[in-house]
Amino acid sequence: MSAPRWIGLPVLAAFLVAATVTVQLREGGGQYEPLKPPSACHEHAITPQASGIEGLTEQLVLIGLSKAACSLTLSREEFVLELAQSGEVSGRQAEAIQQGLLDAVEQMSTDGSLPHASDLLDEAMTNADLHPIAKRAIRLLPDKAVNGAVKVDDVLSRAISSLDIQTLLRNLTDQDEINRQVEVAVTQAVKDSLIARAKELIPDIPGI
């Protein structure tokens, strides 16, 4: 006895539904969702497009943001959105950013990705508010002397520690104001670093 012809209808329907859903699932159906940002505590590959001081700054900021977000148990993206949407940076957030940037300097120093002072000297002199003769004299210094005198990690750590992060982020739309604040902090950091270095080398000179 053969099966009635109508059996073919549910069989055809089951085949069509199974084929449709199977093909869709195999092609990634069910996973077509927004990108899930990785945990901020995991190492994140950063490839800055800018070079020189701007590239270094971008790298520090991106690593620093991840480290700050990690310390606040947020993803980097959640933290950035929180900063962008709240309008006001809390003391806790500012502290996390500052510590994140310091940790970023340490990480780059450890893994050797921090440039030497001599690599940044030319660009720094172009932007520096110094007499042309002084700029020229500094440029004539051999790389070894420059790198021996100015330790980039030390300068950066000093500059970051002296920055008022809350004020800095409040003026995020005012590029000139940010540049001014950073320049003041970096200049002071270079001076302090040089003095500290001199103290290390010649500890007995009175008055320094």
């Binding site: 012809r5 549910p10 069509l16 950063i46 701007e54 980097r76 993206e77 950035v80 959105l81």
Partner: protein, 449 residues
């Protein structure tokens, strides 16, 4: 006039049922032109279905007490005048009121057309014409509405109905059907009507949610959405020959139809990308399911049941109240899911901008531009292109910026698709419930009735 009465009455049936979903694709335009809220604009759809569902049975009762031709003509005339009022409405409140009146006229026209078609063509052919016109109207409604909105305006949807309805008034009067006093002999077919109600709720998910996803989520034009949804109507046409070939028992035909609708909705919940091609196969399943179920269920609910007009009223009530239940269940779900999808979308966009191979200053400018655009478009799936158009970039960064724009748009489409997933799955669940109502063994008394 008597010669063209049948096609005009069939067109009226298709129009009244098409109106149930005809404005789906016009809702964004109505929202904009009448300065309405999303909640208000949803009532343009809900009000029509509630009133049509509630007034179908009373309309059928009324038809037993007066001349069917006169009452049907009156219903069609009310439908025509209120359609014109819908087109002329300059506020959302007026439009909703006009839609309620349109549904009252529509209910009377719908049940009356059934009586007149049966009178003209005999019970079997008359009912068949009435059911086929209804299936065609239900499936084609969103397509026609979308095309008219895109080509002309949302008002055109209502304007084009007026001449057809106006011609159908004398056509109804030309059919001299006598008043038949038929006593209440049969109870409404609870099972078939319940299946219709669940299935209508599921089909609401397929049509209403899909056009929203296509237009609002994937940013296609109403015309593109209409053409995509037309797959449902075209596939529904293939269902009768398939059913004729296999000759299944009615219960099997309906069960298979419910299963196909459920399967199609699962397929719509799981697209691998926002490419329109991925909606085709699920829509074919939905269309075949629609074609296998609606006319068969209507026949099962009305066949050999008297008075026929009243049973027609019960099936219309079940179908449209099912649509309302579908909207009532699904609207809050996908609205909440759209809000929930905002954060993952923002995080994905932030990640892509932070890691984009662009100069820091370009990233900052882009972030500011996107920020103001997202604030301006709050409450809807945003269109990011204005932010990118405003951005001034160097020629060497143009390619990277263009790539970033397409990546960000992809993230938004992913978020929108995810936001609709649960609603489509709930729709599949409703079709599954319809299947359960078919599969539960019938009690002997019900079988006999």
């Amino acid at each position: 006039m008597r010669r063209v009465a049948t096609p005009l009455l069939a067109i009226t049936v298709a129009m009244v049922l098409a109106d149930s979903a005809v404005v789906t694709l016009a809702l964004p335009d109505i929202l904009f032109h009448l300065n309405a809220t999303v909640g208000q604009v949803a009532w343009v759809l809900i009000a029509y279905n509630i009133v049509l569902g509630l007034s179908a049975v009373p309309s059928a009762m009324l038809l037993r007490r007066a001349s069917p031709s006169g009452l049907t003509a009156m219903g069609i005339a009310v439908f025509a005048v209120s359609s014109a009022a819908c087109a002329a409405a300059d506020s959302i409140e007026l439009l909703i009121i006009a839609r309620c009146v349109q549904a009252i006229g529509g209910a009377l026209a719908l049940v009356g057309c059934m009586v007149l078609l049966v009178h003209r063509r005999g019970e079997h052919r008359g009912l068949s014409t009435w059911i086929t016109a209804g299936v065609f109207g239900t499936a084609a409604g969103p397509v026609v509405g979308g095309l008219l909105t895109d080509a002309i305006s949302w008002q055109a949807i209502f304007v084009v109905q007026v001449p057809f309805a106006a011609l159908a008034v004398p056509a109804a009067l030309a059919v001299r059907a006598d008043r038949h006093v038929v006593p209440d002999r049969h109870r409404p077919a609870i099972r078939s009507n319940l299946t219709q109600a669940f299935l209508s709720a599921a089909l609401t998910a397929a049509l209403f949610l899909l056009v929203l996803l296509l237009v609002e989520g994937w940013k296609h034009s109403p015309a593109t959405a209409a053409i995509t949804v037309s797959v449902v109507a075209i596939s529904a046409l293939f269902a009768p020959p398939i059913a004729r070939f296999f000759q299944p028992p009615p219960t099997v035909e309906v069960a298979v139809g419910c299963f196909l609708v459920a399967g199609g909705l699962v397929g719509l919940a799981l697209p691998p990308s926002s490419h329109l091609g991925w909606t085709i196969a699920p829509l074919v399943l939905v269309g075949l399911g629609l074609g296998l179920t609606v006319d068969r269920l209507t026949t099962m609910a009305m066949e050999a049941r008297l008075p026929q007009a009243e049973h027609a009223g019960w099936t219309i009530a079940a179908r449209h109240l099912g649509t309302v239940i579908g909207l009532a269940i699904l609207t809050p779900v996908f609205t909440a899911d759209l809000l929930d999808a905002e954060m993952p979308a923002q995080e994905a966009i932030t990640a892509l901008i932070l890691d984009a191979p662009l100069q820091p200053q370009t990233k900052i400018n882009l972030a500011q531009s996107l920020g103001s655009e997202l604030t301006a478009q709050r409450g809807e799936v945003p269109d990011l292109s204005p932010a990118f158009e405003r951005l001034v970039v160097n020629a060497d960064e143009r390619a990277a910026v263009d790539r970033l724009e397409s990546e960000l748009t992809d993230q938004l489409e992913r978020a929108a698709t995810l936001a609709f997933r649960d609603s489509f799955l709930i729709g599949a669940g409703l079709a599954g419930l319809a299947l359960v109502t078919v599969l539960i063994p019938a009690r002997r008394r019900e079988e006999l009735s």
